[in-house]
Each structure stands twice: as C-alpha cells, then as structure tokens.
Symmetry: C2
Subunit: 146 residues, 2 copies
DNA sequence: GAAATATTTAGATATCTACCAAACTTTGGG
DNA sequence: CCCAAAGTTTGGTAGATATCTAAATATTTC
C-alpha cells in the first residue's frame, strides 16, 4: 500500500471499482453497464484498464473480481468518500447533499491528505453515508504503532 | 452574479485570472508566461478564451485588464481558495500545505458549496494565505438582509 | 526608420476521458 | 450440439485541456 496517491484511477473508474467492491459476488459487465447507464463496451474498456492497473481480475465472458490490491484500494476509496462527506456534513450539508458533493470532490484528495483529515477527525467510525472502516496500516489510526 | 457555478473556467485559466486580478496594472502576456513558465503563445490562447467568456478585456499587444464581471469572478475564486485552505488548515495542515492542497481541490467546489461553507464557518475574515473578503451579495454574509 | 522585442496566429501534438455501433466470440440452456 | 443471449473487441467519435514551434505581425527603442 505504499505510494498510493489517490489519483490512480479516473473518477469514473473509481466509481466502477467501488461498485464492484460493494457487490458480493463476481460482477458481470452488463450489471455494471445497467447500473451506470452506459453501453457494455464502455464498461469492458474501462475494466480492461482497471485490470491492467492491477485492481481487478477480469476473466473475459465471466466477469470481474477484485484482486487483494483492488480490495485495499476500494476500501481506501470508500473511506475517502465517507470522510469527505463527513466533513461536508459538518459544514452544514444534509447527509444526501454531503454524499453527492463528496462524489465530486473526493477525486482530488490524496491518500496523504485523506489520512491526515482522518487523524484530525479522530478516526471517526461513522459518516453520513455509512461506516468508516479503519485499517491498521491504512492511516495513522489508533493501534498503528506497536 | 447569478448563476455562477464555480466551474466556468478550467483551473489553469482560473489561476491566470487570479494572477491578473492580483496585479495592479494592466498585465502583459510575457509576464504571465514567465510567471507560469509556459510559452507566450500558450498564454495568448488562454487569454483569448478567458476574454471570450467575458472576464477580461484583451487588447492585443497591450495586455489584459479584468472586466467588472472578471473582478467579481476573481474575487470569488480567491475567496473560495482561501476558504478551502482555511478548512484544510483546521484539519491539521500547515499554512503552506493547506494553500497548496487547496489549489488542487478548489476547482471542484461550487459557488453554492463555497457560500455554505463560508456561512458555516461564520464568514471568517482571515485564512492561512490571506484575508477573506466578503461581499454583501456574494454569500449569506452578515448584513445581507436589510 | 530599422533593429530588437513582444505578441499573435496557425498548425500540430499529446493526453485523457467517455462514449457508442457493429462485428465477432463465448457461454449456457434446451 | 446448436443457437440465442451475453460479453468482447475493434475502430471510431467527440470534446476538453494544455502545450509547443515557427512564422507573421505589431510595438518599442535607439
């Protein structure tokens, strides 16, 4: 997990990755295409690129599955989203709005910035759009140091 | 000032506009080119587009000057930048860092979001990189209502 | 007024993003 | 085992951004 910048994937691709992570099973191209209202070929192209970057395993005709690296990255993306949404909600936005606006902003937050905000917020457990999962190694969370 | 979204200009162009606003006089192409380390022709092209959008008056060979609309917009850009930097600094970033990171994020903050954060912060007068100027009509600042 | 300087124009390159249609391949149910 | 449905590949469109070089043009300065 060294060297994450938070900008490895375009925001659309990051949305795809988060979506894949949030499904239980192997995810099929069509499912993603329907969910995001785009053509299947658009999804295939994006998946190919995400796979090339090492976040998913794409078995043609059979769907995609996150790699361990992908799971780690997706967790970061979701945590980042929820932290940004939390901050927005603390500045007067309603949960819905905070979540929606966060989706526009989060792309620009680096891993480092995300971790520092997380620390400054005291590693909160809840945001306005879900739980925030912390990981020993993902940020300076409690318990990080031996 | 109705209908500002905050995304009217690309971030580079917004940087040019802010720079122009912060100079006293008419600003010359070369000056901008040197400041941002790009070729003069790059600047000319950008200025032409900014002028087309109505923010500056470009007298070829003689430099640029903000229009009233441009002044208003540049003020918004600077206020937005400083508010974002302020929030970051309140989350543990040093002034320098806050200002630098803000430059990466600010582009995504809409006028509306900016105004609401401004309100929630109590219309602060100072940020980490300069004063925050409020305007009766730019946000729900004190004194807005008769 | 000519030389030096500044600026603009024109023409290109490059990258990224996102998207679709059509042709082709695989799978899986019957 | 075949065919329709699902999925993929290929090739193309489109727009935005940002950049540069080289040539043309304008301005300034001596």
């Amino acid at each position: 997990m060294q060297g994450i910048t938070g900008q490895e994937l375009s925001s659309k691709k990051a949305e795809y990755l988060k979506y894949i992570h949030m499904q239980d099973d192997v995810v099929k191209t069509t499912e993603i295409a329907v969910h995001f209202s785009v053509a299947p070929s658009t999804v295939t192209k994006a998946l190919t690129e995400i796979a090339k970057a090492g976040y998913i395993e794409h078995t043609p005709y059979h769907g995609v599955k996150l790699t361990p690296h992908g799971v780690e990255y997706a967790r970061f993306l979701i945590r980042r989203h929820r932290l940004v949404a939390l901050i927005l909600s603390r500045h007067g936005l309603e949960p819905e709005e905070a979540c929606r606006e966060a989706r526009k902003l989060e792309q620009c937050f680096s891993k480092d910035l995300t971790d520092r905000m997380c620390t400054s917020l005291g590693h909160p457990m809840m945001s306005v759009c879900g739980e925030i999962e912390h990981d020993r190694r993902c940020c300076g969370s409690p318990g990080e140091r031996p």
